[in-house]
């Protein structure tokens, strides 16, 4: 059956089932060049040379090449790959003697992994976007940025005055004033928090009270998606507050 009939091509996925070696090479090369995750399934040998040396004889294996340079060689057993290369390696793809060869090299320490397929049963390239990772990286999605842009997320009349304000207990994330001019410390967390976050916030509030010689004028607000029951009762005992905000 010609390759094309079994093609499955979307904007994010390109696959071939029972491809010729040359077609497989094309999918792997274009996939790696475009920063895709590439997987290859078929009969192959695996040679590793570096801190030790090893050889895996012919067998069916599923190989995954990631755009960060990671290579994973899996069999049908276990969650660990039988061989791998860490992030930071460079990939070379070639066809020699009708073998599709993936060569992964690492300079420090000097290591080389060579996977040679004599038959490829399936090859795929996936353009992966991980929204969770994107939401965690970059300051534009930062909870602190959102609060600075829209202080009313905390409460009406809140005015941020400084980030990373130093105190004897360490730098506080956001320092500001409420509408009555009282100092406010915000403790920002991106996950559900327990009593220890209340303890941290209390340390900042105590340190600021000493700095500002303000016995009662400093408010502490814990900002997080949610708090445990015990944390909520400790907040109340300590006269501290909580604002629920998703990251």
């Amino acid at each position: 059956m010609p390759d094309q009939i079994r093609d499955d091509v979307t904007a994010d996925v390109r696959t071939r089932t029972d491809p010729s070696i040359e077609t497989a090479q094309s999918v792997v090369e274009t996939g790696l060049d475009s920063g895709a995750v590439v997987t290859i399934f078929g009969e192959c040998t695996v040679e590793y040379d570096g801190r030790a040396a090893s050889t895996l004889g012919p067998g069916d294996r599923h190989v995954m090449c990631k755009p960060d340079g990671t290579v994973l060689v899996h069999t049908d057993e276990g969650h660990q790959p039988v061989n791998w290369q860490p992030p930071g390696c460079t990939h070379e793809v070639s066809v020699t003697d009708n073998l599709l060869t993936i060569e992964s090299r690492r300079d420090n320490p000097d290591e080389q992994l060579v996977v040679a397929f004599d038959a490829v049963e399936h090859v795929a390239a996936f353009n992966i976007t991980d929204p969770e990772e994107l939401s965690l990286s970059g300051t534009e999605a930062d909870l602190r940025q959102r609060i600075l842009q829209d202080p009313s997320l905390i409460e009406s009349g809140f005015t941020p005055l400084a980030t990373e304000r130093e105190t004897a207990a360490g730098a506080v994330d956001v320092y500001g004033e409420d509408e009555d001019g009282r100092a406010v410390v915000l403790e920002l967390k991106r996950r559900r928090v327990g009593p220890d976050a209340v303890g941290q916030l209390g340390r900042y509030v105590d340190a600021l009270r000493r700095d500002l010689h303000a016995e009662t004028g400093v408010r502490g607000i814990l900002v997080a998606p949610s708090v445990t029951d015990r944390a909520r009762s400790l907040l109340a005992e300590r006269g501290l507050e909580f604002v629920a905000l998703e990251p």
């Binding site: 960060d68 340079g69 860490p86 992030p87 930071g88 420090n108 320490p109 965690l136 990286s137 970059g138 300051t139 930062d142 602190r144 207990a169 360490g170 730098a171 506080v172 994330d173 403790e187 920002l188 967390k189 991106r190 996950r191 327990g194 009593p195 220890d196 209340v198 303890g199 941290q200 209390g202 340390r203 900042y204 445990t228 015990r230 400790l234 300590r238």
Partner: protein
């Protein structure tokens, strides 16, 4: 504040440069995001070192157990070991008489391991704090119990940042 972390990068001379990260303590994320092509995790780690050329045990003395949620030891080959600071402080439960700077730093296998240990510590501290509040447990006993429990529970490296004679 935030999810702060310390990152110790090994130098060719075997000593470490220590950097800070404001959000890198969240879910042990820097263990996945630091690489030789992106050593400062796209800005997650402050590229300016806090201190340079120190032994790793000195980096541990920089840990604020209440504040830092992770410590990363980045080898010269960018192999990364993740550590979880375990803060024993009980002052927020039982009042200012409780010492606030006690605790241990332990190696963890990843975010799930860290989350389990963090939950376990929180539960243990809550139980001990109840014991102190009810007058059935002394402060010194509580810290001893916590330390022994951590050392029993954790298989790998356990560091007391202030007991430098263990190095």
């Amino acid at each position: 504040m935030a999810h702060r972390a310390l990152v110790a990068y090994e130098r060719p001379d075997g000593r470490y440069d220590v950097h800070t990260s404001r959000l890198g303590g969240l879910d042990c994320r820097l263990a996945r995001r630091i690489s030789h092509t992106d050593p400062y995790a796209s800005g997650d780690v402050d590229p300016e070192p806090n201190v340079v050329a120190r032994p790793f045990e000195h980096a541990l003395t920089m840990v604020d157990l209440a504040r830092h949620e992770a410590v990363y030891r980045v080898g010269i080959d960018y192999g990364i070991r993740t550590y979880l600071p375990l803060w024993f402080g009980l002052d927020h439960y039982v009042g200012p008489d409780a010492p606030a700077d006690r605790g241990l730093v332990v190696a963890v296998d990843g975010p799930n391991d860290a989350a389990r240990l963090r939950r376990w510590l929180q539960t243990a501290k809550g139980v001990l704090a109840d014991g102190i509040s009810e007058g059935v447990l002394g402060m010194t006993d509580a810290y001893r119990i916590l330390e022994e429990a951590v050392r029993t529970r954790v298989d790998g490296e356990v560091h007391d940042p202030w007991q430098t004679d263990e190095y």
